[in-house]
């Protein structure tokens, strides 16, 4: 990790540690912690990290931004910092200036489409849009009748929002656009399509899941070294040790897959099959790790980890929820499998060993 990445990541870590301590916010039923946290993140320029200074952002590199997302995962952050970063990044692709305040991206699933009408307005329905309910603006990717993509900034107040919650209790909403006139709209760069947006979102979620698993491992190890049963610490039981070793394995796999994908995307000069493999493999493997690792973390904690009072659910349920955003692991596995089949058996190893 370059030194500048460390500074950005450390800034994010410090803000999260000061203003989003899991124990504290878990007891704050009114969500009063959210406003000061968002203000501090905004003051540090983190939500618009991926937006250049002339477009209203702080001009951080992709790698620096990814390190913020890892930290956000480690703290299971429940304000739309990842979503606003993605939205700013999307708008920046078309050099549209980002406004202040919370944003999110539309659509957030590879199956949903927003269309550009002949009069330049936007129509369509997007399900499972994270934090749509609290966003002031949406960064929208839409295609016209010719299949050409445009990027638009849309006032959230002009859209219909049917509120929902994801497994972690965070907003996951249905956004309906009915001939909505965007604040700004520009053509997407050549070659930029919905897959690109979904994969960028997928890498973000992979990093967040990996971060949450790191924390689940840490708090599970700590708990096992404190909890006494049968007159000894449960960490001394081999069965518990082996469960935690498996959790470490899942956490390690998620971390390796997610950081490798982030590195690949950050350094990609073109969006080829190798980068596609990195991004979708991370989403698939991190989603699998969220299931396997999370269940072990809960097993180690016993009943206390199943309570609202305990912080474990903040990580375990969000990691599970993040699997669904920007294409689930099942969706991407089918897409990857089809790509592998089209390339043919003898081109599988060269792809896997390409870097």
């Amino acid at each position: 990790m370059a030194e500048s990445e460390n500074i950005v990541a450390e800034t994010a870590e410090k803000i999260f540690a000061d203003l989003a301590d899991a124990q504290t916010i878990n007891h704050d039923k009114k969500g009063e912690w959210k406003a000061p946290l968002w203000q501090a993140l905004t003051d540090a320029g983190l939500p618009l990290a991926w937006v250049s200074e002339d477009c209203g952002g702080s001009g951080a590199s992709l790698a620096e931004g990814f390190s913020v997302l890892s930290a956000a995962g480690r703290f299971a952050i429940a304000v739309p910092v990842a979503e606003t970063m993605l939205a700013g990044w999307l708008l920046a692709q078309a050099r549209i200036t980002s406004p202040a305040g919370e944003m999110t991206v539309v659509p957030a699933s590879p199956k949903d489409r927003i269309t550009v009408n002949a009069d330049g307005s936007l129509s369509g329905r997007a399900r499972g849009v994270p934090f749509a309910k609290v966003a002031k603006h949406f960064a929208v990717l839409a295609s016209d009748a010719n299949g050409d993509f445009s990027i638009a900034l849309v006032d959230a107040g002009k859209c219909r929002i049917d509120a929902g919650l994801n497994l972690g209790g965070d907003p996951s909403d249905v956004v309906t656009l009915d001939r909505v006139q965007p604040v700004a709209i520009k053509p997407a760069p050549k070659g930029f399509d919905q897959t690109r947006l979904m994969l960028m979102g997928g890498v973000a979620r992979s990093l967040q899941i990996a971060g949450a698993l790191e924390s689940m491992l840490e708090i599970s190890v700590r708990y096992s070294n404190e909890r006494v049963a049968f007159e000894k610490k449960i960490s001394k039981f081999q069965a518990v040790q082996h469960n935690l070793a498996r959790l470490a394995g899942e956490s390690a796999a998620a971390l390796a897959a997610a950081t490798s994908a982030a590195d690949a995307v950050a350094n990609a000069t073109s969006f080829n099959d190798e980068v596609f493999l990195e991004a979708v493999a991370a989403k698939i493997r991190c989603a699998e790790a969220a299931e396997k690792g999370g269940s072990i973390a809960h097993q180690v904690h016993g009943a206390i980890g199943f309570t609202v009072e305990h912080i474990l659910h903040r990580y375990s349920l969000r990691a599970l929820a993040w699997r669904d955003d920007f294409g689930s692991e099942s969706y991407w596995a089918v897409e990857l499998g089809r790509l592998i089949a089209i390339r043919g058996a003898d081109e599988l190893w060269p792809l896997v060993a390409s870097r």
């Binding site: 990790m1 790191e214 491992l217 840490e218 190890v221 700590r222 096992s224 070294n225 960490s235 001394k236 081999q238 518990v240 040790q241 082996h242 935690l244 070793a245 498996r246 470490a248 394995g249 899942e250 956490s251 390690a252 796999a253 971390l255 390796a256 897959a257 950081t259 490798s260 982030a262 590195d263 690949a264 493999l277 990195e278 979708v280 493999a281 991370a282 698939i284 493997r285 699998e288 692991e329 099942s330 991407w332 596995a333 089918v334 897409e335 990857l336 499998g337 089809r338 592998i340 089949a341 089209i342 043919g344 058996a345 003898d346 599988l348 190893w349 896997v352 060993a353 870097r355």
Partner: protein, 386 residues
């Protein structure tokens, strides 16, 4: 606070890609010449001495060792590329693999200079096969329970006892083994074992093959009866083998051989399914490819950290733990996905034969070179649980 796990996103340097092309071209030539069949798994009882010598002549053995011992002073990442290409091609590496990965580095560290000068260049030429003498009839994972005795005699030691599950002992020129030179002490049950270089095919050594469930005779019982080993064949500290046994393990645990052992069935499944898979096959293949990609990223990361002088002991153990379980489950997952492959798939017979062999091979993968249970103990220690 748990020590954080690290998996830096290591990329192979350009020199590795040039090397990879060379290795692939060489393997293609050897396949064309009929030296080995890439569709047949790397059958461990297949001993191809001339292949071993050709690999040595290419400079691909002892790649990281000093030139004065016949080595090539290249990086661990370059060795990594050679290893993974050979493994994926099902090349017959049995004769040289142990010597190159494990035995050579032990000799480099602990053998007297004249032994190094005599043996290491021959490993680099692909002339020597090594075995590892660790397990005994009542001492497997519990390495320090070994009882085979080395009794001091004039100018050396007399060896009496039995090693077991010793891979390649029937073709090996040398074995690196641990023998008991003193009883364990009350304070340290690991005390009293010494590492030795054993010259095979000598009086006092009897090798008895043991049949495996795969139908192979690849491991052996090795019985020592008053076998003489000269003093200069002691490797390292007398009674102190326990201090030496752990240092090379990071290399041994995290290489491509720890998740690619049954990889060939995945390639053949993709061939059998064809270019227009149904949703079920596509998803199954996609998941398996995502998993193998992740394993490889982890393994390359550990190789890169080792090259950089770090000691990722826990990370390396994790690679072997989840890598061997993955390669063990792979043939079963492929079998499930192949259940609906068209009867007319041209490679159906090849795939079925490969699956038979891979499914029979699978149980050993989480046992050899450190069981899953032992590895999880090491990981647990690294996590601060023991």
């Amino acid at each position: 606070m748990t020590a954080a796990l690290r998996f830096d996103p290591i990329r192979l340097p350009p020199v590795c890609e040039a090397l990879r092309k060379e290795v692939r071209a060489f393997l293609a030539e050897e396949i064309a010449a009929g030296t080995f069949d890439p569709h047949k798994p790397n059958r461990e009882d297949t001993d191809v001495p001339e292949f071993s010598r050709k690999v040595g002549a290419r400079g691909w053995l002892g790649m990281t060792w000093p030139k004065k011992y016949g080595g090539h002073e290249r990086s661990f990442l370059e060795r990594y590329v050679v290893t993974e290409e050979m493994r994926v091609a099902n090349a017959p590496t049995r004769r040289f693999f142990v010597a190159d990965r494990q035995s050579g580095p032990v000799l480099l560290k602990y053998a007297p200079e004249h032994i190094k000068m005599e043996i290491l260049p021959r490993i680099c030429k692909g002339e020597l096969c090594f075995a590892i003498g660790m397990s005994e009839p009542n001492s497997g994972s519990d390495l320090f329970a070994a009882k085979t005795r080395a009794t001091k005699t004039d100018g050396g030691y007399l060896i009496n006892g039995t090693k077991i599950w010793t891979s390649s002992a029937h073709i090996a020129d040398y074995m690196i083994a641990i023998f008991r030179t003193s009883p364990p002490t009350k304070e340290n049950r690991r005390h009293g074992l010494t590492q030795f270089l054993v010259k095979m095919k000598q009086p006092g050594i009897q090798v008895n093959p043991i049949g495996q469930i795969t139908g192979q005779y690849e491991f052996n019982e090795v019985v020592f009866t008053d076998h003489f080993i000269p003093d200069d064949h002691v490797l390292g500290e007398i009674d102190g083998a326990w201090k030496q046994a752990t240092s090379e393990l990071a290399y041994e645990r995290s290489g491509p051989e720890r998740f690619l052992e049954t990889y060939y069935v995945l390639t053949e499944l993709v061939r059998a399914v064809g270019n227009n898979p149904d949703t079920r096959s596509a998803e199954g293949i996609g998941r398996l490819v995502a998993q193998v990609h992740t394993m490889r990223r982890m393994s390359v990361s550990v190789a890169g950290m080792l090259q950089a002088g770090k000691e990722p002991v826990v990370e390396a153990s994790i690679v072997k733990d989840i890598g061997t379980i993955w390669e063990q489950q792979l043939p079963h997952r492929v079998r499930e996905l192949a259940a609906f492959v068209e009867e007319t798939a041209t490679n159906r017979e090849t795939l079925e034969k490969q699956l038979d062999f891979a499914i029979k091979t699978a149980p050993k993968l989480t046992i050899q070179g450190g069981t899953t249970e032992v590895l999880r103990g090491i990981i647990a220690r690294g996590l601060g649980l023991r």
